[in-house]
Amino acid sequence: MSLEQPRQRDVGVTPDGELDYDELADLLEEYLLDREEHMNAQGFVVRPDEVAAVLETLREEAGFDHLSLVTAQDYQDRYESIYHLKKYSDPTHELSVVVPTTRENPLSQSAAPVFETANWHEREAYDLVGIEYDEHPDLRRILLPETWQGHPLSSDYNQDQPQIVPLREQADPMEHKTQAPDEQDAMFVNIGPHHPATHGVLHLKTVLDGEQVVDVDPDIGYLHRCEEQMCEQSTYRHQIMPYPDRWDYISAGILNEWAYARTAETLADIEVPDYAQVIRTMSAEMCRIAAHLLAVGTFALDIYGDFTAIFMYAITDREKVQHLLEDLTGQRLMFNYLRLGGLAWDLPEPREEYFENVRNFCEYIPERLEEYHNLLTGNELFQMRVLDTGVLPPEKAKDYGCTGPVARASGIDYDLRRDDPYGYYDELEFDVVTRDGCDNFARASVRLEEIRQSARIIEQCVDLLEDWPEDEREIQSNVPRTLKPDPDTEVYKAVEGAKGELGIYIRSDGSDKPGRFKIRSPAFCNLQSMEVLAEGEYIPDMVAALGSLDIVLGEVDR
């Protein structure tokens, strides 16, 4: 579905567009050790010293150009890295490359030379699970402090070991200039973790030459709350659902909940009633509007300086959609509204009044967008600041695994709502907004237009809900009280979150809690592209680029 049609059919695709795993297996015959069946795709098991060659072949020959996620996990007899591959042209074509390593020598070849995005994913795998990646350009800890002892998600981790390390043993920040400049007048500046521009506790180790950025190295993990491990210790049915609200906590709660709901419903084979799907779709789009309004508002904050009219207008409008969400879910941020197989409860009574409020909002938003366009995209000073700054070319965006508005602003026509439909999206009409600017301006303008499309979706949902027969308003399907999926069932599913592709990988171990719960955070992947956006730019443009990526540290650090 990409703009440019591939010249010839990729290997492993049948003429009617289906994925043919046998043909892919033939392609990889020399590397293939075994084939596994995951719920979303097949897993090809390969040797740990041939990872790069396999991924290279798959990308060049079979068109798997999107490394969505790298999951590392710990079995009793081995470590395992799973590379979840997709295609930007069709995300339903999925393939997992499974790389087992022995417990004694957990060394696996790095995928970073093939996919840039693997760099951070593998650093996280090394940090938390303890797999070492050979030929990795920069294998440091990423979420935990450099001085941390042991790897917490590994089964031989000693929890009782003291972790307090005195300051003098912490690394000297000046040591880690990855590309130390030769010029004498370069200056190292710590931007963050407490800085007005970082929108949270992000630390950018920046090397400046005058006002220009020579090197930037994002240091994350200040907000790491062990979300994955907490989910692994909670039951599928009820205990996990509140956690997704806390990942992207900027009002994108229902979008996050849906990521878990979709994955767990696939895993346990749960049907969701249509009525509930429509309400899910409506509330998720409300969350998207709220999240995008905040993104645009804070982006304006970065460009305009102090709190300005646009930020305040955006917050005012976000407040309106928050009211709608509050009426629906009883909460403003931590909604906890979705349930496996349905919803917590039906629409608020009186329904007519609620529908009217929603309709008024949907009519109000397009008018309001004109105001935003006048203040932002139509403003010449604003254009001067953001056009052609923070450029992310499409090839780079794919390499870094960028998704969501960031990818769409680089001309990549990729939206899971349309390309891998879930919920009620395939019955609804909406456009996927793309821009070819690849710059900060394009990213802001994609978000503004997506607000319009979300309002369109909400209106269609209200139409459907108004006419829904009263006796068919089923909000919850029949789901057992305790879910115990078969042991060693593996599934990876993603939804289109506010920031991009929000995916979850679950492996069941036969109990009522997941054996491994891995989150694919879109902001984590998007943030990694910061080095492309910022290097060579002025500090103000770096700040603008950071704002245009729209990261939420709760989601980056999990």
Binding site: P196, E211, P540
Partner: protein, 352 residues
């Protein structure tokens, strides 16, 4: 020419000679200084917030006092009672002097500003022949203060802010002064009272309304140039680059707290008012205006300029530092030279 304020005071006290001149000067300066400080007190903690609030569709301070106006007292107490944190490694005398230099240099400019008369008293401290040059000169001392603050703070963000402030002031003071000179060519004098007097003639009469020959009306292009350059001079959006909160934290004022912070902030506000006073004197006929006393008109004009800076601040993006320098050197400098030459030509032709 009417009597200046110090003379009026010494006459009223009945003390002549050097002592009288000295006492009159000190008391007059205290009065004018307090008057300006009251204006900044009203502007800074309270009215600015009210103005911004109405731009933002919110309410602003409304809890303490009528319309929240006692927030001025609350804020003053809050700011002054805070601990003065002196960071390690600051360059002490320079670091301490910078806030004082900033605040006092701006205040010094008001010495020569004619603020009109009230109850027959002419409120102007001094009227030297080089009045306008004096104002620009003392206002420029602020740049020294900015560099001192930025360099002495031992903080990289302060340092960047200080460098930006110097670059910006260099790029904008020349157009500012060149535009001012075009007015001097019109008026034929640097003396403030002469400049005001030159604007008091009637340009043309539309029915019963006399349009005065204010330089802002004679040459609106110069007024626009001056307002833009003045925004850069006082560091307000779109030119608030030396502070740029989202980029370099707070620029040169990052490390200042408590009273020093108050002084820096005060310095900025006095600077905005001084910019307003120059605009009023040079382009808007000084204290001239119908019915109301001159000083009221003077206040209206400087507050109008203040409102303009706040309007820009709440709605215009901050441009990038290299763009700012580009606009200053390539755009404003050329425009102000063109303005100067055209003005000189017209004045020359008219004189012939």
């Amino acid at each position: 020419m009417s009597t200046l304020l110090p003379e009026t005071i010494s006459d009223a006290l009945g003390i002549g000679g050097v002592t009288g001149t000295f006492l009159g000067g000190v008391i007059g300066a205290a009065l004018v200084g307090s008057f300006i400080l009251v204006n900044t007190a009203v502007a800074g903690p309270w009215l600015k917030r009210k103005i911004m609030a109405s731009f933002w569709e919110k309410i602003g301070p409304n809890h303490i006092g009528p319309f929240g106006s006692l927030i001025m007292v609350a804020d003053a107490v809050r700011l002054i009672s805070k601990e003065l944190v002196v960071p390690e490694g600051v360059d002490r005398p320079a670091w301490d002097l910078a806030p004082m230099v900033l605040a006092s240099s701006a205040l010094l400019g008001f010495a020569v500003i004619p603020m009109g008369s009230i109850l027959g008293i002419n409120v102007q401290l001094a009227d030297p022949e080089v009045g306008l040059a004096f104002v620009f000169a003392v206002a420029s001392i602020a740049s020294v203060g900015l560099v001192m603050a930025g360099y002495a703070s031992n903080n990289k963000f302060s340092f960047l802010g200080g460098l930006r402030a110097v670059a910006q002031n260099l790029a904008y003071e020349i157009p500012l002064i060149l535009t001012g000179i075009s007015v001097v060519i019109f008026a034929g004098s640097l003396q403030m009272s002469e400049i005001v007097a030159a604007q008091s003639q009637t340009l043309l009469s539309v029915g019963p309304v006399d349009v005065p020959a204010w330089f802002g009306i004679l040459n609106p292009f110069a007024l626009a140039l001056f307002l833009v350059a003045n925004l850069a001079e006082v560091g307000r959006n779109p030119f608030d680059i030396p502070e740029a909160p989202t980029e370099i934290v707070a620029g040169y004022q990052t490390e200042y707290s408590s009273v020093y912070f108050v002084l820096l902030y005060l310095g900025e506000f006095i600077h905005i008012f001084l910019g307003g006073a120059i605009v009023a004197t040079v382009f808007l006929g000084g204290p001239a205006g119908p019915v109301l006393p001159g000083i009221v008109w003077f206040l209206v004009k400087i507050w109008a300029v203040f409102l303009f800076t706040q309007w820009c601040r709440s709605s215009l993006p901050r441009i990038r530092v290299d763009q700012l320098i580009g606009i200053g050197w390539k755009g404003l400098l050329l425009a102000s030279f063109a303005n100067l030459i055209v003005t000189a030509a017209i004045v020359g032709v008219l004189a012939v």
